[in-house]
Each structure stands twice: as C-alpha cells, then as structure tokens.
Symmetry: C2
Subunit: 334 residues, 2 copies
DNA sequence: TGAAAGGTCGCAAACGTTTACGATCCTTGT
DNA sequence: ACAAGGATCGTAAACGTTTGCGACCTTTCA
C-alpha cells in the first residue's frame, strides 16, 4: 500500500533524491552511468512518480476537464472517445463530468474542475446559454466549447457548419423531386437556429415553401420525437419529406410512422442530422448529415493544447464541414 | 490566471492561514463570528480550495480511475454515466481512460492511474486475461472489476448472471415452440463461456441438441457478426432460432438476414444479450437479455467506496440478475 | 604545475494545504 | 484573588516533487 518515493530510491542508490529526480527527467547535468544505474533501480523498486506532488511544484496537472451533458449519449461518447485518446497521446488525462439536464450542475462541475486545477476545460454545452452560465470561470482556465456554435461570442469553439448541413440536405431532397419538405425541430439553441436557417436558405433559393413543425421547449430524444410525431401524423400529411433536426428526433418520427403505417421512404422521405452510430443499423438505415465527430474532437484538443502550452490568447472558431450520408430513408416521391 | 490561496484570504482577514483552513473545514476549535467572517470573505475573493495541495497532505485524492475498452461502446458509456454520477454524488471525481483493443494499453493506463494517485480503480476488462494482466497493480490500490466474471479469482467484481441469462433466453425460445436453436458466439472469455454454459444447461434440461456456431478469435461487433452470419447463411438453415451471445452480433446477424431475404422473425427468431439502447429502436425491436447496467454501476462504486473508506479487504462477487426483454424478433416457428 | 573550465551532484526552497502542538486570553469556581 | 480550565488562534512540520545555486572533483591547457 505504501508507495515508494524518490527518497526511498535515493537512499538505496546512495545519492540525494534530487539526483534521482534529474535522472528520471533526463537532465543533462548528470553522469550517464549513474543515470542508468538509477533508472534500473527505479523499476526494480517499482517507483512511479507521484503526479500530484509533481503538479504541485510544476503548477500544471496535465489534466483536462471534459464536461458533457450525458456520456451515455452516442454523439457525446464518440466525441469523448476521440478526445480522451488524443489527449492521452499528448500526455494529458481526462477528468469526466456529466453536467446532466440542469444548468446548475454545469456550473457546479466547472467550479469543481477548477478546484482540481485542471489545465484546461473541454465542454460540450447543454444549450447556448451555457456560455453565459460559466462565463465567470472561463477566464480562469483555457476553455474550448465543443459542438455548439457560440456565434461571435468571445470564446473558442469547434462545431460543424450546421446551416450548411441542412442546406445540402434539403437540396438533396429537392433533387430527388421533393417539393414539400417539412422541417421538424426546435430553434431556441444557436445550433438549431442555424440548422433552421440552412433549411430556410435552401427553400428560398429553390422556391420552396418553408414549413415548420416546432418541438420547442423540449429535449431532443427518441421518445420526445415520437410523441411529437404522433401529434403531427394525426393531421393530414401534405408533404412528401421531413427534415428532422436531429437523428434522435428522426428515430422517433420513424417509430411513429411505422406505428401509424406511414411508409418510410415509400410515402415519406426522412433525413436526420448528426449521423450517430444507430442510424447505420440494419432496418434503420437513416439518411442523415454527418458531423465529423472524430475531427471535431481532435481539433478541440489541439486548440486547447495550444492555449495551455503556448498561452495563445485569441478566440478561434473552427467550423468543420458536414457531409451528406445517403442511405435508405430518402427516395423519389410518387 | 493567478488563483487566490489560503494565504491571500488570511492576509485579508488578518488571521493565520491555518485559521482559514479550519474555518472552511468546519473545525470546532474556532470562534463562530470569525468563521462566518472568513467564509464570507472567501467567496468574496473567489477562493476555491486547491485539491492537489489538499490531496498531498491528506494522502487521498478523491479520484477514481475508470478504465473501459472504449467509451463509445453503448454498454460501457451507460455504465460510465451511472458510475460517474454516483461517484460524484459521494465526493469523487472520475478519471477516464480508454484501454483500446490491446492488452498493453490496459496495463499502461492502470500504471498511469496509479501515478495519478487515484484512490481506487473501476475497470471494465477487455477480456478475462485482464486480471492476470494488471495483477501486479491490483494490490496497490482498491480495484473492482465491472462486467466480467472472474470466477473465484481473488478480486472483487460485479457482473450479471450470464449463464442464467442464456438459460432463461433459450427456455423462452423453447416455450415459443422452437426445437432447433443455434448458439452464435465465441467462448474464450469467461463471460462468454458462462453464456454458452447457460445455453447448454437449458438444452440438456429440455432435451435439445446443442448447436454452436463459433465466432472464436474475433471481436464482437456488428460488422464482425455480419460477416460471420453471411458465412452461416450460405449453408442450409436447419434451425428456427438463433441465440446471439451479444446484441452487437445479433444486429450483424439481422443485417445479413435482411440482405439475404431471410425473414426475421418469420423464418428465423433472433435473441441477443445486453439490451444496449440500440435494440429498442424502431424496426430493430430486438428481443434480448437485459444487463442491469445502472445497478451494476452503482453497486460497483459502492463496493469500491467501501474498500477505500473502510479499508475492507475481502473479495466480494456481486452477481446481479438478468431479465428477459420480450420484443419483436422472436415468434412461434411455423 | 597551476588555474580555469566543465562535469556531477547535494542543499534547500517552493508549491498550497492539513493538523498536532503550543501559546495566549478569558472565564469560572472556590 | 488566584488557579484551573476551556476557548481561540498561531507556529511549524509534513506530503513528494522540481530546480536554482553552490560545492566539489576531474580534466585540460598554458
């Protein structure tokens, strides 16, 4: 249980513990023969450097706080995977916090992370209000926002070009022959505002009527999309395609459609957004817009590392390109 | 950037910094009026206690290392979610590490976590060899294994009763009328050995022939299951149901079946294991065996906390009950 | 042969806490 | 009035590192 310290190996080697420290860190001011002797002795005795003591004097913990609303979400767990892998490859460890559904938790965990002396924070915001919410802390530690567009607010973030995503999506539907496309989604977060804008822009260019079914004031989940879609389908269906602002919503719509015997894609084409793994499943095979999650995560940690290691001060907005994933839920209308 | 320390507020309050520390920690040996004065001053100055300095003297980091093969896996991300929530509710933070596909990484991250001075380690093993792999470290820090059965090896773990899961699953298929049930899965991990055993036991009791299609030496993934199932279906299908040892495998089988126009569940019933979220999706609707992931995670951190806080030494094996989730991929045979 | 130069290594301070111990002051009981 | 005791606070050590500075020894060149 008692771990071996520098002092222990120093005593065993017959040198001061400063020498041992220098041997391990590869300092030039040390004899090569003593260095090798000490290094060998170190792993004989099973010495591992105590990172908390090290952090204390170095004023650097090599720790990155990762805040996500919920790690069980497929989108976030994929971001987390690549973020952790990349961070560790560069010598950082990840401290994971779920911020849950309420804004208060978000503030709480960020404060917690600050107490832990993390070198930087990577945060997947709950909503566009997150920025205001944790504003008091973001100047105390390098921070980058991931997955949410903060427009021109003074923070660094990396997202996908949301409006372009819906733009190319509706254009694709148009090219398939669809002329009545319903947009299904909420708009009170910036991300979703932008997605709606992309749809609107495409409609304008193509001379299409803009038709919205709002899921305002509700969380984006399969069950939620399902409930809303049941309402939607109880009214006459005078459109041939639905653009769901989220894959989760699209999945809910699909469930409602199947239940009410509305053929997808026969009667109704459906397209989602995010390209979460579930969309690629057999029988689902949902056409969607891909967010380059791997690239987003890698860019985010690179950005954060740049702030941490080089003290870069400015705010950089990295906006990656979405792409269309053609699958089975979109087809020419009758 | 420079954070405020105990010394700073002590100077501002005109007391020694030991007094401030005592005021914050709620020590009895301090005047109530000075305590309140100091506490008010603390959040006026925005003081947050430095956890790494605190850990140094307390010899306790309130940190739990969580090692999972891949956090993007739905099963693991759900475990991670509940584990983090429960851990934080009890004052611990989670340090997340993906151990990836190879055993070496598993060893590496555990060693890393030890250097970080975590109070305990929660590990979802890659395979049953994991125990041997990290054996050298498990006596240095409280450890509990999650999701893998280590039989009677000297370690604490929490899993589901795997053999009971397949047992009730095949019994269910039998009751539906199936008499030729194929078991699809590998057997070289203990977990999968147990699952196979449950199937075998049920077959014996019911007088059924045991039929295996081995996916040995391969990772359990949708693609892998798909490839194997294509091989399987190129041969005559003289069975009416398949028990897939994993939901991922079941999904791959489903994909292959759809492609080769084998009707599920019309011609072939299919049941999986794990009840990952994807199985509940519309159109998938896979019958499966549920692992109580939330309970597993909560029990695991409770077990770990007991070891950490009370120094409990023994090895406890917590084996939770699986349950059958009846959905749409199982039906009476023709 | 002498001193300067360079190579090795030890001493000690510092990082920000917690806490045992001692010091001081005030209260209280006889 | 005096001692005992309790309440309150300060002093200092400790946790395990890193690193600037100085000390010592060896080499090398004039």
């Amino acid at each position: 249980m008692k771990s071996v310290t520098l002092k222990d190996v120093a005593k065993a080697a017959g040198v001061s513990y400063a020498t041992v420290s220098r041997a391990l860190s590869g300092s030039p001011q040390i004899g090569s023969e003593t260095r090798e002797r000490i290094i060998k002795l170190c792993d004989e005795m099973g010495y591992t450097t105590n990172y908390v003591a090290r952090s204390m004097v170095m004023k650097k913990t090599d720790l990155i706080g990762l805040v996500v609303p919920s790690i069980e979400n497929q989108f976030m767990s994929e971001l987390a995977y690549y973020a952790e892998m990349s961070a560790r490859a560069h010598g950082y460890n990840i401290m994971l916090c779920n911020s849950g559904p309420d804004l208060k938790q978000e503030k709480t965990v960020v404060k917690l992370l600050l107490g832990r002396q993390v070198d930087g924070i990577l945060i997947v915001p709950q909503s566009s209000r997150t920025y205001e919410n944790i504003r008091a802390y973001t100047d105390q530690v390098p921070t980058v926002f991931l997955g949410e567009n903060l427009r021109d607010q003074p923070q660094s973030y990396v997202t996908v070009d949301n409006s372009r995503g819906t733009y190319i999506g509706t254009k694709y539907l148009y090219e398939l022959g669809h002329r009545d496309i319903l947009y299904f989604g909420r708009r009170h977060s910036t991300t979703h505002q932008l997605r709606a804008e992309g749809y609107m822009k495409a409609c304008q260019e193509l001379g299409l009527q803009q038709r919205f079914f709002n899921s305002e004031f509700s969380r984006s989940s399969i069950n939620n999309g399902y409930q809303l879609a049941k309402d939607l389908f109880s009214q006459p269906i005078d459109y041939s395609a639905i653009f769901a602002s989220t894959d989760s919503n699209a999945l809910g719509i699909l469930k409602a459609a199947d239940e009410m015997r509305i053929d997808v894609p026969g009667r109704l084409s459906l397209i989602g957004f995010d390209n979460i793994p579930s969309t690629g499943l057999p029988r689902i095979d949902l056409t969607t817009i891909e967010q380059p999650k791997r690239d987003m995560a890698l860019q985010a940690v690179d950005m954060l590392r740049d702030k941490i290691e080089n003290g870069t001060q400015g705010y950089v907005h990295q906006i990656l390109l979405p792409s269309l994933i053609k699958r089975g839920t979109c087809r020419e209308p009758d």
